[in-house]
């Protein structure tokens, strides 16, 4: 039992701490030092999802239906998978369009429609009020328990009713004040409430800690750990069913529906939209949040079942309301400290929800409900008012109080009679009506305003007649027969068995029908309705948000003019002079223009102003206000479609340009490479010329030197004179040979060589070559061995050229054969339609790495011992080309000091080839 003043002081101290955090957060934000710009704070702020309903209600639900409390937390885990495609897109869209709330989001998507915005706001308010009332109830109940007013539980005991009502009223008002302080210090709703987010994150920590502490206390303090608890629960007749997932407790389809429901709730509850989208600092925080947030939910749920079992085992027979186990257990075991901590935890869960939810709702009420109506009321003459900022703030503050009051009123009349869980799920089901319009709106260009509007309306009505209204009957506020006999006595309109659908849970049943009607009408009407120009533009802007960058605006909604002065006064009326001036100078700086000198504002400027206004009063009101100062030319749908097409074409065109410039780059790279190749060729040619020059000059040098020596020295003796003259002759021959070979090579390469092809006996060719070189062989003492078939071996070819080939190979062999015991083997073989000739010497051989080189021009192999070989370095290249011309191949096999074998093959001539040969020689 705790004294009232202890509880009150603690509560106020706690609220003061919260306020301190919020104040600090706001101040840091003002100094551009955001304390919430990290994924951890972001994830914690998402945990505003866990309200007093989680804190107290999960245990209650677990106590009555076991593991069925889980789907509420499975849904958000599902989000981990879908957050990236869905939530990231919503965040991007909202940032680009300065969206202020979920109502604004939907209204903006469907042509900035004020009616749609108002509708979403109404649905949200109606759906959420019970939920807020639930939080108030939770705070007041927990206060009563901890201060010991009711002895046991808080059933519908009328004796306590009055006290409860008074407490709740004060709580509601205190929270309203607190919310006003938190949430409406500024006007621009897109200017994030950094302080509030910081405070919410702090609350998430507190409630987690409090719940874990009580969980540990129950599990390990009152019992001996999980095993003990579960063992006791299993052995208890009444509890066993809670642990097992059997058909009696809940159907599979209910699980699926619950999971889906909470998935939609975590996205579309106004407060979730507020923290996840509006208050998001950086898209990237989402990456971590998608697993941190489910992790948080997992941790906070670990002790739900243990506490439920602990409570049921401690208080058998339902003497204590399961919703209050977390408080009752420590209280009854003399742990006042833990009880107080739990109370603060519950308080944090409730206040977090209430604060964010009312801020979100008040923004919606102001921007999407009250302002559009006020602006339409001509007699108020709002359009002429010079300063509307105070009015806007007043509306927001009043709506906070009103929402809170409505929460209280709901609690006063109805709330006390319904269990926590059913109220929460009802709210979830209400906001899930936004799902088709939002999901369709961001992925489906064709989704139309009419579809969204009627779909949502139908869904909402079905929701109303299947959930909240019949729930009044179940607590005797409406006649019971509605449930038993159906609406207006029609049996197919039974609230819990619509159109005869039975066997589903109430929530699943309502969800099924409402979403069926909602989605059906949304899709159906969208397919058959004509959309206006603004709808087209907005659809494009939302669906293709990733395609348009921040700067490249789709500024096609609009064609018209306005004066900067008009725009300035408009802005001033809604945002005050200081911020209007600031916005103007910011724009001027960005675009580097002087606004004072602008005769009229262009569409870009008008859009800028409209977005600023939208941030303050929502997109539909902003649109309406802008149209009062802008002389617009209304564009037809066709025109807008054309403009949109143009924009798309421009984007496509710029992509094409990009593509082309890439291609150009590639082409220029290719050219560069080609140029390099050309330069390389040039260099090779240069090298070739230089080499040829060198080869020509070398014999010429000897010729000239010896000629001059002979000329200048008439007195040389005869033998020396003879020697020198023979050198001159040899070098001249070398020169001639070189020139001839060069000419041959040039002719072959330029394909101007005259080939005289005829059938030849290759044996004769070999013999001719051998005869021509026999003198040389004799001089060097080389022994020749020939292995030649006795039959003629016919090929087609140019006789002289083939003799040249043989001469080349034989003279090379002579040159390189062993100096003392020179041996040359010539072999002719016929194999597989071709002939092969081998010329083998027994000389120094050729290194592997040189074997390719020797077929290149002017590549000679130098040997350390023999020095530079005679010859031009053109013999083998020419030989190779002649063989290749005859469709043969030439190669060499050799090992150093083991001699070398040059071989070539040629196609064998068949008699049928004769014609071919004749054709060839023409």
């Amino acid at each position: 039992m705790l004294d009232n003043w202890v509880i009150l002081v603690t509560s106020f101290a706690y609220l003061l701490i919260l306020f301190g955090i919020a104040y600090y957060g706001d101040r840091q934000a003002g100094l551009k030092k955001s304390i919430i710009s990290n994924p951890y704070i972001y994830s914690l702020s998402l945990a505003v999802y866990c309200t007093a309903w989680t804190f107290y209600g999960s245990v209650g639900r677990a106590a009555s239906s076991g593991v069925n409390f889980l789907p509420i937390y499975l849904g958000p885990t599902l989000m981990a998978i879908l957050a990236w495609p869905v939530l990231r897109k919503i965040i991007r869209i909202s940032k680009q369009n300065r969206i202020t709330s979920i109502a604004d989001f939907i209204a903006s998507r469907y042509g900035k429609s004020p009616i749609l915005g108002g509708m979403v706001t109404l649905i949200a308010v109606i759906g959420i009020i019970p939920y807020i009332s639930l939080q108030l109830k939770a705070i007041s109940t927990s206060f009563q328990i901890i201060s010991g007013q009711p002895e046991m539980g808080i059933g519908p005991q009328m004796t306590q009713h009055e006290i409860s009502q008074v407490t709740t009223f004060y709580i509601a008002m205190i929270l309203a004040m607190f919310t006003i302080l938190f949430g409406t210090r500024h006007l621009d709703a897109t200017e994030r409430h950094e302080g509030m987010v910081a405070a919410i994150a702090f609350e998430s920590v507190i409630k987690l800690v409090a719940f874990l502490v009580v969980g540990i206390f129950v599990t390990f303090g009152l019992f001996n750990g999980f095993e003990d608890l579960f063992a006791q629960a299993l052995s208890n007749e009444n509890l066993r069913h809670l642990i097992t997932l059997n058909e009696q407790t809940i159907g599979m389809s209910d699980w699926v529906w619950m999971t889906l429901l909470s998935f939609m709730a975590v996205l579309f509850l106004p407060r979730q939209f507020q923290v996840a989208v509006i208050e998001n600092v950086n898209e990237k925080h989402l990456r971590k949040a998608v697993w941190l947030f489910p992790l948080y939910l997992f941790v906070i749920n670990i002790f739900v079942l243990p506490i439920a079992f602990g409570g049921l085992l401690t208080y058998p027979g339902g003497v204590v309301d399961a919703d209050t186990f977390v408080l009752a257990l420590p209280m009854d075991h003399g742990q006042a400290g833990i009880a107080l901590l739990v109370f603060v935890g519950g308080l944090s869960a409730a206040t977090g929800m209430v604060i964010v939810e009312t801020i979100a709702l008040s923004t919606m009420i102001c921007n999407d409900l009250v302002m559009p109506i006020l602006l339409r009321l001509r007699f108020l003459d709002l359009e002429k008012r010079r300063d509307l900022t105070r009015l806007l703030l007043t509306i927001r503050r009043s709506s906070i109080i009103i929402v809170m009051l409505m929460g209280y009123i709901y609690f006063y009349f109805i709330g006390e009679f319904l269990p926590l869980v059913s109220i929460g799920l009802m709210s979830f089901a209400a906001v899930s009506q936004f799902a088709p319009a939002i999901i369709g709106g961001i992925f489906w260009r064709e989704g139309s305003k009419r579809g969204a509007m009627y779909g949502m309306l139908a869904g909402f009505l079905v929701w109303a007649i299947t959930l909240p209204i019949p729930s009044l009957a179940s607590v005797d506020l409406l006649p019971q027969r509605i449930i038993e006999e159906g609406w207006f006595g029609y049996f197919w309109l039974k609230p819990y068995a619509l159109f005869g659908l039975e066997g589903m849970g109430k929530i699943a049943h309502s969800m099924f029908w409402s979403l069926l009607f909602n989605t059906g009408l949304y899709v159906g009407l969208s397919l058959y309705s004509r959309r206006n120009s603004l709808e087209h533009t907005q659809a494009s802007r939302f669906v293709d948000v990733f395609r348009y960058s921040d700067d490249k605006e789709l500024s096609v909604t609009w064609r018209g003019t306005a004066t900067p002065a008009d725009l300035h006064s408009l802005l001033r009326r809604f945002m005050g002079k200081r911020r209007a001036d600031h916005a103007f100078s910011q724009y001027a700086q960005q675009r580097q223009i002087n606004i004072d000198k602008l005769p009229e504002a262009d569409s870009d400027f008008v859009q800028f102003i409209e977005k600023l206004l939208a941030g303050a009063v929502g997109s539909s009101t902003a649109r309406a206000m802008i149209s009062t100062v802008v002389k617009e030319e209304h564009l037809s749908v066709e025109e807008v479609m054309n403009l949109l097409d143009e924009t798309r074409q421009v984007i496509a065109y710029s992509r094409k340009l990009e593509q082309q410039s890439k291609e150009l780059e590639a082409a220029s790279a290719e050219l560069k490479a080609a140029n390099q190749r050309l330069q390389e060729l040039d260099r090779l040619k240069d090298d070739f010329v230089s080499t040829v020059t060198h080869e020509l000059r070398t014999p010429l040098t000897s010729v000239r030197a010896f000629s001059e020596i002979l000329h200048d020295n008439a007195d040389l003796d005869l033998s020396q004179r003879q020697h020198f003259l023979s050198i001159i002759i040899k070098e001249s021959e070398r020169l001639t040979r070189l020139i001839n070979q060069l000419l041959d090579l040039q002719k072959i390469e330029s394909e101007t060589m005259d080939w005289h092809l005829s059938p030849l006996d290759i044996r004769e060719i070999i013999q001719d070559a051998v005869n021509a070189t026999s003198q040389l062989m004799k001089e060097k003492g080389v022994i020749l061995t020939e292995v030649i078939p006795s039959q003629p071996v016919m090929v087609h070819g140019d006789r002289d050229r083939l003799i040249q080939v043989m001469l080349n190979l034989i003279s090379n062999a002579i040159k390189f054969s062993d100096a003392d015991n020179g041996k040359i083997d010539i072999t002719l073989e016929v194999e597989d339609e071709q002939i092969r000739v081998d010329v083998r010497d027994n000389g120094i051989g050729i290194h592997k790495e040189d074997q390719e080189l020797i077929f290149q021009k002017f590549r000679q192999v130098h040997h350390a011992e023999s020095g530079r070989p005679g010859g031009s370095g053109l013999g083998l290249p020419i030989t190779q080309r002649i063989i290749e011309y005859h469709q043969g191949e030439i190669w060499v096999k050799s090992k150093p000091n083991k001699g070398a074998t040059f071989s070539f093959n040629l196609p064998l001539a068949t008699s049928g080839d004769r014609e071919l040969v004749e054709a060839f020689s023409e």
């Binding site: 230089s690 020059t693 060198h694 080869e695 020509l696 000059r697 070398t698 010429l700 040098t701 000897s702 010729v703 000239r704 030197a705 010896f706 001059e708 020596i709 200048d712 020295n713 050198i727 040899k730 070098e731 130098h862 350390a864 020095g867 530079r868």
Partner: protein, 123 residues
């Protein structure tokens, strides 16, 4: 004592002609047919002048010239590069590497002899 000349060339006939010309001029002659041999003989023969062909196997005349200039002991040795490559670049390269003269093949025998005389007398 007569001046000493090292002839470095791999064309036997050119070597014969250079040998004849230099002997006629009254110099002591040694012959090297490639870079390694040339470096060996530079060490053992201590020539006053080198007639150095550029197109040599394994190590060309430029490299030999560079090797000579890098060794302080050989700094006084005159180097005449002989080459059948007459391109501007080759001449520039030769002089940049420290050759004292550059003679293009085919050369006028008298001019070469005069140049050798002149360079050896100037020492």
């Amino acid at each position: 004592m007569g001046k000493k000349i090292l002839i470095v060339d791999d064309e036997p006939n050119i070597v014969i002609s250079l040998e004849f010309l230099m002997q006629q001029g009254g110099y002591d002659i040694e012959i090297a047919r490639d870079g390694q041999e040339a470096l060996n003989k530079l060490g053992s023969f201590h020539p006053d002048l080198v007639l150095l062909d550029v197109m040599l196997p394994y190590m060309d005349g430029f490299e030999i010239c560079q090797a000579i200039r890098q060794k302080p002991d050989w700094n006084h040795i005159k180097v005449i590069l002989l080459t059948a490559k007459g391109r501007e670049v080759d001449i520039t390269k030769g002089t940049a590497l420290g050759a004292d003269a550059y003679v293009t093949k085919p050369f006028a025998t008298r001019e070469l002899v005069d140049k050798v005389h002149e360079m050896l007398e100037a020492v």
